[in-house]
């Protein structure tokens, strides 16, 4: 079963509002095995609404439309639908009573405009909206289904959750689609594609792979289609297990995990603490860690040693080492990590020292050169990274690389 989502409203077309309704609905529909063929945002005029319905029903059997059901002049969806189906608007008594109670509870007077919200096209089945005054509407004609919902997110979500999704799920024949997203850190999209090419090429035809890159992270989304949900889940898990055998050090989590939440979980369950000493990441690594609620249970703190004096005075980096190797070096990064571990009194300490850019590079150490060190109860390790020339991306990739180094160390 295929569906199109149509959002009605000028606020979308002038970029004032981001269309979060459609992505929420798309995710929910996919979960019950209804594919979304297209997502459309259109202006709130009757002609656009009718044209969009014609276009959509040429391709799909289900259309879910949101928006344009309010009481003001720019809310034209209802009259457009009445014209589209060539029916009249009629007063729906239960809806009028609901609106009267709704206003009475809030101590407000009903206007003529509010009363008009109880009028619906005569061929629709009204869907009770407990959170607002505009009812949802369900239309069926010639084997096609049209659902019209208010655009206010929490009103729409309640109607979807309690009426639309269960009803559509019960009508569905056969196939479901299920997804599993594998999250990787460490190599870019095309390198990852090279490494996992044999695995990707051997995927069965009913399992599709998509690469979703972000700075420092590549998400791999597997989608399986078939008529047996449990079997599909098993098959997806087999593919994920196989992938984990190929790139164990790159995979840090699944679906909605973040690297900082995964590492936080590991620290918490291991009963160990963390601190950081940051130069080039300038506090961003500590920020990622402390963005997780409850991180104070395992995160002690950080020394942002942007100046060389602070590296020596606070972290105990030898000024001779700074002189001979420079701040961006294996030696200094390692001493920073060890110094932070001692000063902050934590079990693990991560240190970053690099040239975030855009200026400050040399032929030997170009912009994007970053040393990351990890001090642990059993020793200190370090790694050098050669990133790009964009400051913000270098900072983010450095912090993610540091977290992944810690993740790999905590796992073993």
């Amino acid at each position: 079963m295929l569906c199109e989502l149509i959002s009605v409203g000028d606020e979308l077309l002038i970029g004032q509002v981001v269309n979060t309704n459609s992505s929420w609905m798309a995710a929910e529909l996919n979960m019950i095995g209804i594919g979304v063929h297209r997502i459309t945002a259109i202006a709130d005029t009757k002609d656009h609404v009718k044209q969009a319905l014609d276009d959509a029903f040429r391709q799909v059997d289900i259309v879910i439309m949101t928006g344009g059901l309010g009481p003001t002049k720019d809310d034209i969806t209802k009259t457009a639908l009445a014209e589209y189906f060539e029916v009249e608007l009629v007063l729906h008594e239960p809806t009028l009573q609901h609106i009267e109670i709704f206003f009475h509870k809030r101590g407000r007077m009903l206007t003529a405009l509010n009363r008009k919200q109880a009028e619906i096209p005569s061929n629709c089945e009204p869907l009770f909206n407990p959170n607002g005054t505009a009812p949802g509407m369900w239309f069926e004609k010639d084997g096609k289904i049209l659902v019209s919902l208010p655009g206010v997110p929490f009103e729409m979500k309640a109607l979807m959750t309690h009426y639309i999704l269960p009803r559509l799920a019960s009508m569905r024949d056969g196939d479901v689609i299920i997804h599993k997203t594998v999250l990787t850190q460490g190599v870019g999209e095309s390198f990852l594609a090279d490494i996992i090419a044999p695995w990707e090429d051997a995927l069965p035809p009913h399992i599709r792979l998509a690469y979703l890159p972000q700075p420092g992270i590549v998400r791999l989304r597997l989608s399986a289609t078939g008529n047996n949900r449990l079997l599909l889940q098993e098959q997806l898990q087999e593919q994920v297990d196989e992938l984990l055998r190929i790139i164990p050090e790159l995979v840090f989590g699944f679906d909605n995990d973040t690297l900082e939440s995964v590492v936080g979980q590991m620290l918490r369950s291991g009963g160990v603490t963390l601190g950081t000493a940051e130069s080039c990441t300038g506090g961003y690594l500590a920020h990622l860690i402390t963005s997780i609620p409850g991180s104070s249970d395992y995160f002690k703190g950080s020394i942002i040693a942007y100046s060389n004096e602070l590296k020596t005075d606070l972290l105990g980096v030898s000024s001779q080492l700074l002189e001979t190797h420079g701040a961006v070096s294996k030696e200094v990064a390692q001493q920073m990590a060890v110094g932070a571990r001692n000063l902050l009194g934590c079990d693990y300490a991560l240190a970053t020292s690099g040239i975030a850019g855009p200026a400050g590079g040399t032929p030997e150490k170009p912009v994007g050169t970053v040393w990351i060190a990890l001090a642990t109860p059993t020793g200190t390790t370090s790694q050098v990274f050669q990133l790009g020339d964009k400051r913000d991306r270098n900072i983010r990739r450095s912090a993610l690389s540091a977290l992944n180094m810690l993740r790999v160390a905590l796992k073993t």
Copy 2:
């Protein structure tokens, strides 16, 4: 001139990614007087791309398409466009050289997949993409324009800003629209609207005002329409000057300024240095400051004292004060700021201590209570803020409030 925006990618149709590209583009296009007729998201198959183009060009003269230009198998936009225009894909030498340099700089080997990114439909004009490996593409045929851009937001935005928007603007006839954005920090949208209501009501009809709120910041965008650019600029400047007389302490900059860049400029030109002591902001304040290139000239570093021991051991906060007033208090925030100023050897030090949430609040100090202190060469001041219950927003608003406290202090 009317335009349709088409986003290509299954990730949109399964609801994994929210379509923020389209709303950004819609807002930008509106500002240069190009209306968006429809926004569409479609699957990444060649048939969907070709069908969507047919549908769109029946209604509009300009289509801007994003996504599907990556190096992997699910990236089909380029071959779909070649088929749509009935042309071949040809190797574009300058793009290949750019890709080679791009990889060389990062010390990586070029794969066959990467090389294929330099192939473009023979009838297109390639648009140099400095931030990635996939070029933008400009097509013209029978008076219609098609632009294809990478879906990665910062690559798309750079191409739009530097090529597409100026080129489309130059093709538009008649009136010009010019904009000036005034950036404010300190009060929310509705409070700000109350304060500036008399000024707003007196704006001439050809100057429009839009409120663009973000967490901690409200941008006021003034748009003037007319046929004399110089006159419009003068008129906008008069309105801005008037606004500065009304809310001088709230306005921190204009257009693309950021609070961290404005404060950085002030520190640099004053020849003074800064450090921070952070509890609830967890490094985010230092991150904002160090996101500015060259910030090492005026930023010394930071102590992220997440635990109470570090507040006493490193920053010299009295344990008795911590005991009697709690970490989230005026007294502790002030001692943190003074301690950081001494320890880091800087002229100014900002300190934050608060309850970021979602847990940890008490009836006396609910979630969102944040103390911010500023130690200067002449004394220490502090302020308490009552923010909301969202952790990420509380962290951001705390850091911005701290920067604005410093800005006001540096100005006087």
